[in-house]
């Protein structure tokens, strides 16, 4: 059976499965729509959270970033896992004890203020929509490869499917579908990793393969070999290259961690468990399921890079035969060329491809002596690496089909979870909570679905010109959540004296500083050409990249909130009692609507 048919079959089968589950578990009430009726076991909840969490950024984009940034990409590995420690220790049990449906609801009650609730909704929507833009990029990449069309067409088709899928289900449907999606995506991620690790190092466990010697009998360790292969072509050494600077890496990691603990679609998960105890263990289970993918990713990234380099540089560097002939490029390169995400150009007209770092002046001089006229791999989109990996490693067709299905599962599950968070904050927090308290349950559900449709359209529009790779765009979303939501949640639980004015000004200044910084470097609402400082390293504050700035925004948030709360009236007594109450698990009933 040829690859295309097989891919259609596998993807078609998994989609039928998701839709079947979504239909079987479709939401009947608002309670089920938002929180799955609180009847979800911690292990099941952990698995669904993991699928919700591991998006196109984790599945499709992250290993590509690791492949090209080496050690520098550790920020994603630590940042997107370490946040669960914060979530489990600092937020999840208390928010479950509080027992409401949404994050703005907690902020509105804890800070006894509708204004605080509205500000929280706005922050939440900004972060979630940015996040969905990142997903759309991933969905576009996956669909364009799957249907063998260009990126834009892939994106439009993907938008349609997300729409049908998210609007129908609600949280209950999403929870069960996401369990199925987790199984598909983790299987699809680990199977090729095992094959590739076995091919390269002879060790079937990727987590160990990365520290093993090459299987070619040379006795060289895999990472040493990779360091040598990339430095031979003028690239930076894989295991030591940093992302920006070490300060930038520190701030970047911190920003992703606290962003994790501030993202509504993850927090919302801990509202859906039966008990406070379960909220603690759910975070742990989620991280177990996430860690399976995250500890595999370094092996996938490094080995994909090694395979890619060896595909193009087939022989000794500097010899004529050392580079692959264009007439002989493997099928996977031709497949990806169709999507526009992989491009090459024979600059020196020798009928071969030279792939090297022409920005490295010293190496470029050497290359010129060999008759190389610049790097001929003119575009290698990082986001294609995971999807292309099994093809590069010449794995059987069913593995390739599986990976496409896994990528789609990852992107769809997260997009659905996020859209739900957006829908609930608009229909539940803005309409029912603030502007139209008398709205009927049916109309509230309808408003939620309309909000989802609007968010898909908006995210799709920005997805045509994403500000960064999928993982980079998602990192910006984390920065926005980190700088606004996390600090007020944490202070709301751990600092009894934090008051209304402190929280409101904290959120506004935190997200304000972060957005200003991102927009001045990436363009206002990411529109190209409107960035007034340019996305250039030398203009960065202390060398901190815009993607990493959320941690600075969070510090501003904490500082402003602390100062403002000192000079304004302390919170009323009943609020201080409320805080004391959420600190102990006893008496956590089922959540009430109002």
């Amino acid at each position: 059976m040829d690859l295309q048919t097989l891919t259609y079959l596998v993807v078609g089968f998994t989609f039928a499965l998701y839709i079947g589950i979504a239909f079987w578990a479709r939401a009947g009430s608002t309670g089920e729509f938002y929180a799955a009726g609180r009847g979800v076991h911690p292990v099941a909840n952990g698995m669904a959270t993991a699928a919700d969490w591991m998006s196109a950024a984790s599945f499709i984009s992250m290993a590509g970033l690791i492949a090209f940034n080496g050690y520098g990409a550790s920020v994603f590995l630590m940042g997107w896992t370490g946040g669960y420690v914060l979530l489990a220790l600092l937020l999840a049990p208390y928010l479950r004890k509080f027992g409401k449906f949404t994050v703005p609801e907690f902020i509105g009650d804890r800070y006894y203020s509708r204004t605080a609730r509205i500000v929280a909704v706005i922050c939440l929507i900004l972060a979630s929509v940015t996040y969905v833009i990142g997903q759309m990029k991933g969905i576009g990449v996956a669909f364009s490869r799957f249907l063998e069309t260009d990126y834009d067409t892939g994106l439009f088709i993907g938008m349609g499917i997300v729409f049908i899928y998210a609007v129908m289900g609600g949280m209950k449907g999403i929870t069960y579908t996401q369990i199925a999606q987790y199984c598909v995506l983790i299987f699809a991620y680990t199977v090729p990793a095992v094959f590739v690790s076995l091919n390269i190092t002879g060790n079937p466990i990727p987590q160990l393969g990365i520290g093993s010697a090459m299987a070619d009998g040379s006795g060289t360790f895999m990472l040493d070999k990779l360091d040598q292969v990339v430095t031979d072509l003028g690239f930076k050494e894989y295991t030591t290259q940093v992302m920006g600077s070490k300060l930038n890496m520190f701030v970047y990691t911190l920003s992703l961690m606290i962003g994790t603990a501030g993202l509504p679609h993850v927090i919302i998960r801990f509202f859906t468990v039966p008990k406070v105890k379960d909220a603690r263990s759910s975070a742990g289970w989620a991280l177990v399921f996430i860690a399976i993918l995250y500890t595999t990713a370094p092996a996938v990234g490094s080995m994909a890079r090694l395979n890619l380099m060896n595909t193009i540089q087939v022989g000794e560097v500097g010899t004529v035969e050392g580079n692959i002939e264009i007439a002989n490029v493997p099928q996977w390169m031709l497949n990806w060329e169709k999507t526009g995400l992989l491009q090459w150009e024979d600059k020196n007209g020798d009928g071969r491809i030279q792939y090297y770092n022409d920005k490295n002046a010293e190496f470029a001089a050497k290359a010129e002596a060999w008759g190389w006229k610049g790097n001929e791999m003119t575009k290698v989109d990082r986001d294609i690496m995971v999807l292309a990996n099994p093809e590069i490693a010449k794995l059987p067709n069913w593995v390739i089909a599986l990976v496409v299905a896994g990528g789609l599962a990852a992107a769809l599950s997260t997009a659905a979870g996020l859209l739900l968070a957006i829908a609930s904050s608009i229909s539940h927090d803005l309409l029912k909570g603030v502007f139209m308290p008398d709205i009927s349950e049916k109309n509230e559900l309808m408003a939620g679905r309309i909000a989802m449709a609007g968010a898909i359209g908006l995210a799709g529009y920005f997805g045509l010109h994403p500000p960064d790779f999928a993982a980079g765009t998602v990192a910006i979303a984390f920065g926005l959540a980190a700088s606004s939501i996390f600090p007020v949640l944490m202070m709301g639980i751990f600092y009894k004296k934090m008051n209304r004015a402190g929280a409101i000004w904290g959120m506004i200044s935190g997200i304000g500083v972060t957005m200003l910084y991102v927009f001045q470097h990436k363009g206002i609402m990411f529109v190209p050409g409107t960035s007034f400082l340019g996305d250039m390293g030398p203009n960065w504050f202390l060398g901190i990249s815009p993607n990493a700035f959320g941690a600075v925004g969070a510090v501003v948030n904490f500082a402003v909130a602390a100062m403002v709360s000192k000079v304004t009236a302390p919170p009323p007594d009943h609020i201080q009692h409320l805080v004391e109450d959420i600190r102990v698990p006893k008496g956590a009933g089922a959540a009430s609507d109002h």
């Binding site: 050690y71 220790l89 370094p298």
Partner: protein, 84 residues
């Protein structure tokens, strides 16, 4: 807040502080700040600092949440604030 609740909260804060120190050490300290000196120590073909940054920190996070869950559930019972 009555006496027990106050002590419960203090015990909670102490536990969380200890765990967060370890959280910081395994990621920011070993994986970023001290990465070069640690990389001189090799386990297999991987430098220790690189390993902490890409694998070790994640394993440590798992242990941290496990310990937290165990300890907190025990504290709930000890101070009689557990759910029914």
């Amino acid at each position: 807040m009555n006496k027990t609740a106050e002590q419960y909260w203090k015990a909670n804060i102490r536990l969380v502080s200890i765990l967060l120190v370890i959280w910081f050490a395994c990621s920011f300290l070993f994986g970023i700040i001290l990465v070069e000196p640690l990389n001189t120590i090799k386990i297999g073909g991987v430098g220790l600092g690189f390993w902490f940054a890409q694998n070790g920190s994640i394993y440590t996070f798992l242990v941290l949440i496990y310990v937290y869950t165990k300890r907190m559930n025990a504290l709930d019972v000890e101070f009689d604030v557990h759910e029914d």
